[in-house]
Amino acid sequence: MDAALILVVEDERTISNFICRALVSAGYKALPAATGGEAITLFFSHRPDLVLLDLGLPDMDGLEVLQQVASDPQRETPVIILSARDRESEKVKALDLGADDYIVKPFGVPEVLARIRTTLRHAERVRSATHGEKKLSYRVKDLTVDTARHQVFVGEKEIHLTQNEFKILELLCLHAGKVLTYDFIMKEVWGPYTTGGNQILRVNMANIRRKLGENPSEPKYVLTELGIGYRLLEEG
């Protein structure tokens, strides 16, 4: 396969420079865009494999660019959002609009490269045959989730989860590698009309972690995305 082409939408030239340089060093092709208008033009003319999108653009709202990219009928292009640490609601909105992942500013190079690798792999898997279908079982490291038999194992040991705990884990497995917002999980597990807070989800997750013997400071299976949601860690 050719080197993946990555569209870098970022109005700060210095940041765009080092990201592009890092991408090229890592074996990708980089395409910089400084404005939302330029980004949309380049997106439709060059058909990148992934978009790195800064939400604070000079000419238009980054979320608008996201919507245009997400509404492309020909193919699904993964989008990673670049956003400031203290703007959780913005990140949640972007994820709900179809962004695949987000990176918190200020970010480091290894982090950006790791996220890009994960997202590209995830997109590849989605394009292949298993897209959207529920699998009979999932494996993450030594965790096995058997959806047909409603069983969960860590190594050889069976873990007993409640119905909702199992549903949450199954949902995370189905979207492995992707950040799922609290809202999304609440609606999928407790139904579209749930009201009130997401404490019930948070408590369920804490219980799942305890049952799986996982410490949040050394996550093996589930990663907390603070203020946003959860993500199932993939192999590698």
């Binding site: 210095t14 060093s25 640490r85 200020p106 400071s217 203020g227």
Partner: protein, 390 residues
């Protein structure tokens, strides 16, 4: 006349009430009697004495409190006029036509006059009292207005300062990110000798420290900018876990162990701010304790609060630092020195964030010598508002 009356009243005020009033009454009555006797001898016109007594009664009612003395005086005056100064002298007589009428009308006039005077006196006192109240009220109002203006001015200044700080911090973030990022890219690209790599590492680590400091400043403006922090229920161990991951990413040499609480602690908080506090405390332990290994981050429940505790195995805290944390004031630059650069800002930020959440930050030296930082957060908010959070 007014000033004379005023002066005599000030003199009279020195005597205690009843005694003073009695003395005034007796003295004025005596003066009136002498005056009448004097007039009687020189003019021979007997009826003047009645007017002299009425004058005395008026003065008595003016100078004494209440009606009592003036009424007594007017009765005595009526008797005296009749007894001493009307024919037949030195005997009480109502035989002559007009005498009873004269005497009764004199008593009546005295009574009416003394009633009027007393009323007047009360009204005057009330007026003075009213005026005093009004003035006090006015002064109070004036002071309140001045204080309010001062507070408003101080608040405005604070807002402006906060806005500048926020703007500067935001603007610093982008160049610092690209400095750190560019240094990282150059380090990765290879083909450089050891010394160049060390310089690049220094650039990157200093840029990263500055980024942390900027994040701290932004957190402070986030607390000060809003009247109340936006709290939502968070599982404390998730926030703590995230903080550990973040610190480990920056300091790969750090060894941090997260010890979970027995039960799940749901705490109302701004998760980003509390994560910042835990990061600062961990970074403190990694950078300033002298031993970046064996750091323990422990979460536990104490009554109605959730406690987060960071303990290290380093050299412990100096009395100055302990005192500063206990008193809740920032570390002065002289005590923090060069070795603990950035510790001051980090700790003040922790203190402000914890306080804004209704908790307390404590510091002590552990039994084995290392530093222990600990803060508690209330498990319940005063008003149950967290359910309104989306």
């Amino acid at each position: 006349m007014g000033s004379l009356l005023g002066r005599s009243r000030t003199v009279l005020r020195a005597f205690p009430g009843v005694f003073r009033d009695l003395a005034v009454t007796v003295m004025l009555m005596a003066a009136a009697s002498f005056g009448s006797a004097f007039l009687l001898r020189h003019t021979g016109v007997e009826n003047n004495s009645a007017l002299v007594y009425v004058l005395a009664v008026v003065l008595i009612s003016r100078l004494t409190s209440g009606y009592f003395y003036a009424v007594c005086a007017s009765l005595v005056a009526g008797f005296c006029t009749n007894y001493y100064f009307m024919y037949p002298y030195a005997s009480f007589s109502l035989e002559f036509a007009g005498y009873p009428v004269a005497m009764l009308s004199m008593v009546a006039i005295s009574l009416v006059v003394c009633t009027l005077t007393t009323q007047l006196k009360n009204q005057a006192e009330e007026a003075v009292q009213r005026e005093r109240n009004t003035r006090a009220l006015y002064e109070l109002n004036d002071r309140l207005g001045r204080e309010k203006a001062d507070i408003q001015r101080e608040k405005d200044r604070e807002t402006i300062r906060g806005n500048i700080l926020r703007a500067v911090s935001h603007d610093l973030r982008t160049p610092l990110t690209s400095i750190s990022g560019a240094a990282a890219v150059l380090m990765e690209s290879g083909g450089r000798d050891q010394r160049d790599r060390m310089l690049l590492e220094d650039i990157k680590s200093d840029a990263d420290s500055l980024i942390t400091m900027v994040e701290n400043l932004l957190s402070v403006t986030r607390i000060q900018g809003e009247t109340q922090i936006k709290k939502q229920s968070e599982v404390l161990e998730e926030v703590a876990g995230d903080a550990v991951l973040k610190v480990r990413r920056r300091f790969p040499e750090a060894e941090v162990e997260l010890q979970l609480s027995e039960d799940i602690l749901l705490v109302p908080m701004d998760p980003m701010l509390i994560q910042q506090v835990i990061c600062n405390l961990l970074e403190n332990a990694v950078r300033h304790s002298g031993d970046p290994t064996g750091i323990v981050l422990r979460l536990y429940r104490r009554g109605e609060t959730a406690v987060t505790e960071v303990a290290d195995r380093g050299r412990g805290l100096t009395p100055e630092v302990l005192e500063a944390v206990r008193a809740g004031r920032p570390l002065s630059t002289s005590t923090s020195g060069d070795a603990s650069r950035g510790m001051g800002i980090g700790l003040s930020v922790c203190q402000s964030i914890v306080t804004a959440h209704g908790g307390v930050l404590e510091a002590e030296n552990g039994p084995s010598g290392g530093a222990v930082f600990r803060f508690d957060l209330p498990l319940k908010e005063e008003e149950e508002r967290e359910w309104t959070q989306p």
